[in-house]
Amino acid sequence: MASAIFVLDLKGKVLISRNYRGDIPMSAVEKFMPLVLEAEEEQVPTPCFTHEGVNYLYIRHNNLYLLALTKKNSNATTILLFLHKLTEVFTEYFKELEEESIRDNFVIIYELLDEMMDFGYPQTTETKILQEYITQESHKLEIQVRPPMAVTNAVSWRSEGIKYRKNEVFLDVIESVNLLVNANGNVLRSEILGVIKMKCYLSGMPELRLGLNDKVMFESTGRPTSRGKAIEMEDVKFHQCVRLSRFENDRTISFIPPDGEFELMSYRLNTQVKPLIWVEALVESYTGSRIEYMIKAKAQFKRRSTANNVEIHVPVPDDADSPKFRSSIGLVQYAPEKSCLIWRIKQFQGGKEFLMRAHFGLPSVKNVDDPDKKPPIGVKFEIPYFTTSGIQVRYLKIVEKSGYQALPWVRYITQNGDYQLRLPESIKNNKMTPI
C-alpha cells in the first residue's frame, strides 16, 4: 500500500506525482534527496528507508527516480515491483521513459496512475489491457470507451472477439547463460536462465497446451524418456495466464494466451555446463610504462553451431593510452569511455580457438590514491538453433471452439547472460614477445 507516488529527476525535483491517500504530507518528498545523499555519505543507501514515520521506497530508471511513500508497514516487495511495473507500462506507452516524455505525456500519465492504483493498492497493470481504454486518441472518437471485459474477467489478460485471418503462433526459446569464473579459471557459478516468449496471432479464446521434455513430467507419467534427453528445471515461473494448480498437479502447461507478444514462462537450471565461450587472459604490466594483454578465446560447443556477434570486453586501466592490437580474427577496438578493449568476432564456429594481443602505454606518473578497480572480462554472444539445457518443445496444442487450424513455429537461441570471467593478477616477468 502506497500513500503517494512521485516521479523525480536526479536532483530530486518532482516531475509528476499522485497522492492516493492523503495521509502523508506531500512535503515529505522534499526530504527524499537530502536523505539519500546523507545515506551515501554515511554508509550504503538502500532502496527502502524510514524517516520520521514516513517510509521511502524508490527505484531508479534512466535519469528518473520513482518514489513511493507510505506511513504503514506496507508490503515492500509489492510497492517496488509496482514501481518497476510503472516504468514498464510507461515505456510501452511512450517508447522511452525519461524527463521529456513525462512532461509531454502528463495527461496520460495521470490517467494511468489513476487506473493502475486505487487508494494505494495496485489494480490493472497489464499494458495491453490498459491500452484498450486509455489512449491519447480516445477522446477524439465518437464511440464511448468502456472498460474492457478483461479488466475484471477471470481472464484478465485477453479480450474477446479477437480475429486473425491466418492463425499463427511463434515460440522463441531463449536461454541466457550466467557464468562467474574466478581468476584461476575455476567456474564458481554457472546457471541457465531460460524464457519462452510467444507471439500469438490467434482468433477467439484459444486453449493452448505446451509440452516440453520436462523430466519431472516424464517421470510422473511413467513415460519412457528414450527419445532424446529430458531436462530438469530447477524453478519455473509462469505468466499469469498459466493455470498454476494444473502445473502443480500434473506438470501440464495449459493457458489462454494474451494477444500478441508476451513471456509465457521462465525457468532456471543450475546444471554445471562447460562455459560456451572460454576466455583466458595473460596480463603483463609495467607500472609507469606499458601494459600488455594476451587473450585466448575458445568456442566450447559443437562444430555445427556458430556463435554470432561475439564481443569480448577486456578491462584496461583508466589511464591507458596509445593502443596497439593484433588478432587472428575479428576487430579489436579501444573503448576508453568504458575503460576496456572490445574484441568483436562476427562468427565464431564451435571448436575454434583464436588469439588476440593488445599493448597499451601507461602514463609515467600514476595517481597513488586511485585504487585499482578490477572489473571482470565480459563476453557477449548469440548461438542460434541451440539451447544449452537441451530443452525442447514437444508440442503446442491449440484448441478453439471455431475449430481452426493454427501453426506453431519454434525458434531456439542461446545467448550470454551475466557472463563474467575475473581477470588474473598481472605478472611482471616479461614472458611475452613484443607485438
Binding site: G22, C48, N73, F82, R146, R243, D418
Partner: protein, 694 residues
C-alpha cells in the same frame, strides 16, 4: 501503438503575467477545444507546482462533459484542490451523483473512485447513496472500485461506513462471483480491520476460506497478494488444515510476480508452525528453496528485499539453502546494498564443506575498491574463523595475505578480526604476532589500534619488545581515543603482571599519566583501581586482570526468538526489510510502552551485530571484571557513598571510592558482586563494552 511524441500544443508554456486571467477566459470560452486546452494548461501548471486553486469555479463548470479525457482532468483537479475550496466542492456533487448513474461503467467507476478521494466532510454525506448503488452494480469493474471506496470512506468516517452497512456488504462481497471484486473486497476488509479498534471486521471462517482459495487461482497478481496476505493472518485449527491450505498455496511459488512468491512463502513459513508431519515439513523446506533463489534474478531493489527476507528465513530454518551458497556470490556489478546483504547470508551458510570456496571469494572481494564492502568482507573472514573451528587456520592465512597487501583499511580491519580469532582460539596463533606488530605504526583507527594493543597485552610474555611497543604510546597517550587509552592502561598492567622485573617504570609512568592528566573519568578510575590493586595485592591483581575469559561465538547476526517470529509474520513488509518490529518505525505509538521496550531489545541486537565479542557481553553476567568497571561510567557521580560494605552492584562503586580513602581492599575485592543489573549494558556505549572485556 501511437507515438505520443508527435507535435502537441505546449502546455508548459512560459509564465506570463496574468496567465490565470487568460486561463479563466479560456475556461469559459464558447469553444469546446479551447476550454479543453485551458484545462490541460491548468493541470500542467498544477503539475509543476503552481497554485491554480483560484480557477476552481471555472474548472468546475467544465465537469459536465461527454469527453471522458476532459472529465478525468477535471476530476483530477478536484481531487487536488477540493481541500482548498471546501465550500465550492458541493457544486460538484450533482455531477458526481449523476455520473454514478451513467450508462458507461467506466464513468460510474471513475465517479465513485474520485468521490472517495475527495477528503472533504461535505462530500461524504453525499457519497453514501451512490456508493450503495455501485456496490450492487451489475458491472464487476464498478463493484471492485466501490469495494475500495468503502475503505476510503471508513478511513474518513468509520461510523458512517459501519452504520450504512457498507462493511457488512464488503463481507458479503468476499463471495462475489468475480475474482477481482473478491480481491479488492479482501484488500478493503484487511485495511478496515487493521484500522478498527475491535479487529473483528475481517475474520476468516471455513466458508470464506474456501472462497479465498478458489479466487486465489483466478485473480490478478495483485489480487493474489491480497488474498495470500489475508491467509497469512488466518490461524489454521490443526496440522491437517494447515497442510491442506499450504498445498493450495504452493502452486503460487511458480508465479512470475516476486511479491506473489514471497507472500506465498510467508503463508507457508507461518503455517509450518502448526504443521506436525515431519515429512511435510521437509518437503516444504525443499520446495521453498528454488523460488527463493529465483528471486535473486529480479531487479536489484527487489533482490534487496528478498535478501533481507532470506536472512530471516535462514535464521528460522537454517537447513533451507544449505547447498546454495554459490548463488549468493557477489557479482562485480551488483549494487553495494545487494553485496552487503549477500555477505551476511554467505556467513550464515558457511560450513566446513564450503568454507574454502567462500574464503577465496572473500579474499577476492577484499581487493575491490568499495571500502565499506572490503571491510565487511574482511570482517566476514573473521566470522568464518570464529564459526568454523577447522577453518580458523586457513582464515588466519588469508588475513595474513591481506595484511601483506599493505592497503591501509584492509590491514586495520584484518587486525580487528584477528583479535576476535585470538579470543576464540587462545594460544594457537601467536606465531603471527610479529607480523601484526610490524603494522602498529600504520594503524590510525581507534578500534584497530585498541585491538592490536589488546593482543600485545594478552601475549606480553611472548613478545620480546612488548614494553617498547607500549612505551611508544606514552608520549601520545593524551591524544589517543578513549577506546585506545582504556586498552593501553589494561595492556600495560597485563605486561607488568607478566614481566614485573623490567616494566615497573613504564607501568608507573602510564598510570601516572592516566590518573593525573586524563579527563575521562572511566580511564582515570580504571587506572586508579589498577594502581591500588597492584600496590596492595599483586596476587589479587593477577587473579582479576589475567583471569580467563569465556569463549566467544558468532551469534551477533541473529535476532532474538520472539522478534524473529514477529518478523516472520511480517515477511515481505517493510518490517522484514528493516528487521525491526513495525511499531518502532511507524509514526503512531512510537513512544508506547511496548514499543520502547522492543526498541531497547532491538538496540542491543543492533549493537551486538557489530562484533561477536559484544554479543558475549550481554549473556555473560559472570564476567565480573567487566561489570564493575562498566559501572564507573555512570553511577560514580550520583550514588551517595553511604552503604560502603554492601555487595550489590551499585555499592561496588562505593567500594571503589572507599579505596581511595585507604580502607582495606582485600575484603571488598575478594567478594565481588554476584548480581549486577543487566541494564548497565544498555546504557553504556559500545566502547565501554568492548574495552571492558579485555
Amino acid at each position: 501503438m501511437n507515438d505520443f511524441r508527435v507535435t502537441k500544443p505546449k502546455f508548459f508554456a512560459t509564465t506570463k503575467k496574468g496567465e490565470n486571467y487568460e486561463l479563466r477566459a479560456d475556461l469559459n470560452s464558447e469553444y469546446r477545444d479551447r476550454r479543453k486546452d485551458a484545462i490541460k494548461k491548468v493541470i500542467a501548471n498544477m503539475t509543476v507546482g503552481k497554485d491554480v486553486s483560484g480557477l476552481f469555479p471555472d474548472v468546475l463548470k467544465n465537469m459536465q462533459t461527454e469527453d471522458l479525457e476532459q472529465k478525468k482532468l477535471v476530476y483530477l483537479y478536484l481531487m487536488n484542490y477540493a481541500k482548498t475550496q471546501p465550500e465550492l466542492v458541493i457544486l460538484a456533487v450533482n455531477t458526481f451523483v449523476k455520473d454514478t448513474d451513467d450508462i458507461n461503467p467506466l464513468i460510474r467507476a471513475l465517479a465513485i473512485r474520485t468521490m472517495g478521494c475527495i477528503r472533504v466532510e461535505k462530500i461524504i454525506d453525499y457519497l453514501c447513496e451512490p456508493l450503495r448503488k455501485c456496490l450492487k452494480d451489475d458491472n464487476p469493474y464498478v463493484r471492485k472500485t466501490a469495494a475500495i471506496c468503502v475503505a476510503k470512506l471508513y478511513d474518513l468516517n468509520p461510523e458512517l461506513a459501519t452504520e450504512n452497512g457498507f462493511v457488512a456488504v464488503l463481507q458479503e462481497m468476499v463471495s462475489d462471483s468475480n475474482p477481482m471484486v473478491v480481491a479488492n473486497a479482501v484488500t478493503a476488509l484487511a485495511e478496515i480491520n487493521e484500522a478498527s479498534i475491535t479487529k473483528d471486521i475481517f475474520v476468516i471462517n471455513t466458508s470464506t476460506l474456501t472462497k479465498l482459495l478458489v479466487a486465489l487461482n483466478e485473480c490478478t497478481e495483485w489480487g493474489r497478494i491480497a488474498i495470500l496476505t489475508a491467509l497469512a493472518d488466518y490461524r489454521p485449527s490443526d496440522s491437517k488444515e494447515a497442510e491442506h491450505i499450504v498445498e493450495r498455496v504452493i502452486p503460487q511459488f511458480q508465479h512470475v510476480n516476486g511479491s506473489v512468491v514471497l507472500s506465498a512463502i510467508k503463508v507457508v513459513m507461518i503455517y509450518m508452525r502448526t504443521i506436525k508431519t515431519d515429512e511435510m515439513l521437509s518437503q516444504l523446506v525443499r520446495k521453498m528453496a528454488p523460488p527463493l533463489v529465483t528471486l535473486l534474478a529480479s531487479a536489484p531493489e527487489v533482490q534487496y528485499v528478498a535478501l533481507r527476507n532470506i536472512n530471516l528465513i535462514l535464521q528460522k530454518r537454517s537447513d533451507i539453502l544449505q547447498n546454495e551458497i554459490r548463488v549468493f556470490f557477489c557479482k562485480y556489478n551488483d549494487p553495494p546494498y545487494v553485496k552487503l546483504e549477500k555477505l551476511e547470508i554467505m556467513i550464515k551458510l558457511a560450513n566446513d564443506r564450503n568454507v574454502d570456496q567462500l574464503l577465496s571469494e572473500l579474499k577476492e572481494y577484499a581487493s575491490e575498491v568499495d571500502v565499506d564492502f572490503v571491510r565487511k568482507s574482511v570482517r566476514a573472514i573473521g566470522q568464518c574463523a570464529v564459526k568454523i573451528d577447522e577453518a580458523a587456520e586457513r582464515c588466519i592465512n588469508v588475513l595474513l595475505d591481506l595484511i601483506n597487501t599493505k592497503v591501509n583499511y584492509v590491514v586495520q580491519e584484518a587486525i580487528i578480526v584477528i583479535k576476535d580469532i585470538f579470543r576464540k582460539y587462545p594460544n594457537n596463533y601467536e606465531g603471527i604476532i610479529p607480523t601484526l606488530c610490524q603494522n602498529l605504526e600504520v594503524l590510525d583507527e581507534p578500534e584497530a589500534k585498541a585491538s592490536l594493543i589488546w593482543i600485545i597485552g594478552e601475549y606480553a610474555e611472548r613478545i620480546e619488545n612488548a614494553d617498547e611497543l607500549l612505551a611508544t604510546f606514552l608520549d601520545t597517550f593524551r591524544d589517543e581515543n578513549s577506546q585506545v587509552q582504556l586498552q593501553l592502561v589494561t595492556a600495560t598492567v597485563k605486561l607488568f603482571l607478566k614481566k614485573p622485573q623490567t616494566t615497573q617504570n613504564i607501568v608507573w609512568r602510564l598510570l601516572q599519566i592516566a590518573t593525573s592528566e586524563c579527563d575521562n573519568p572511566d580511564i582515570r578510575d580504571r587506572a586508579y583501581v589498577y594502581w591500588r590493586l597492584l600496590s596492595t595485592d599483586p596476587q589479587a591483581a593477577k587473579a582479576v586482570v589475567l583471569s580467563g575469559r569465556p569463549v566467544i561465538s558468532v551469534q551477533g547476526n541473529t535476532l532474538s526468538g520472539p522478534l524473529l517470529e514477529e518478523l516472520i509474520n511480517n515477511i515481505s513488509t517493510l518490517a522484514s526489510v528493516y528487521h525491526k518490529p513495525p511499531e518502532t518505525f511507524l509514526g503512531r505509538g512510537r513512544f508506547g510502552a511496548d514499543a520502547v521496550q522492543r526498541r531497547a531489545i532491538e538496540e542491543q541486537e543492533e549493537a551486538s551485530r557489530e562484533s561477536p565479542i559484544q554479543a558475549q557481553v550481554k549473556t555473560n553476567i559472570e564476567n565480573l571484571l567487566d561489570l564493575d568497571f562498566n559501572d564507573n561510567s555512570t553511577p560514580t557521580s550520583n550514588t551517595p557513598p553511604s552503604s560502603s560494605k554492601s555487595t550489590d552492584a551499585t555499592a561496588n562503586v562505593d567500594d571503589l571510592l572507599d579505596l581511595f580513602g585507604g580502607s582495606n581492599i582485600n575484603n571488598d575485592l575478594s567478594t565481588p558482586p554476584q548480581s549486577s543489573s543487566s541494564n548497565n549494558h544498555q546504557n553504556n556505549g559500545l566502547t565501554n563494552d568492548l574495552v571492558s572485556l579485555f
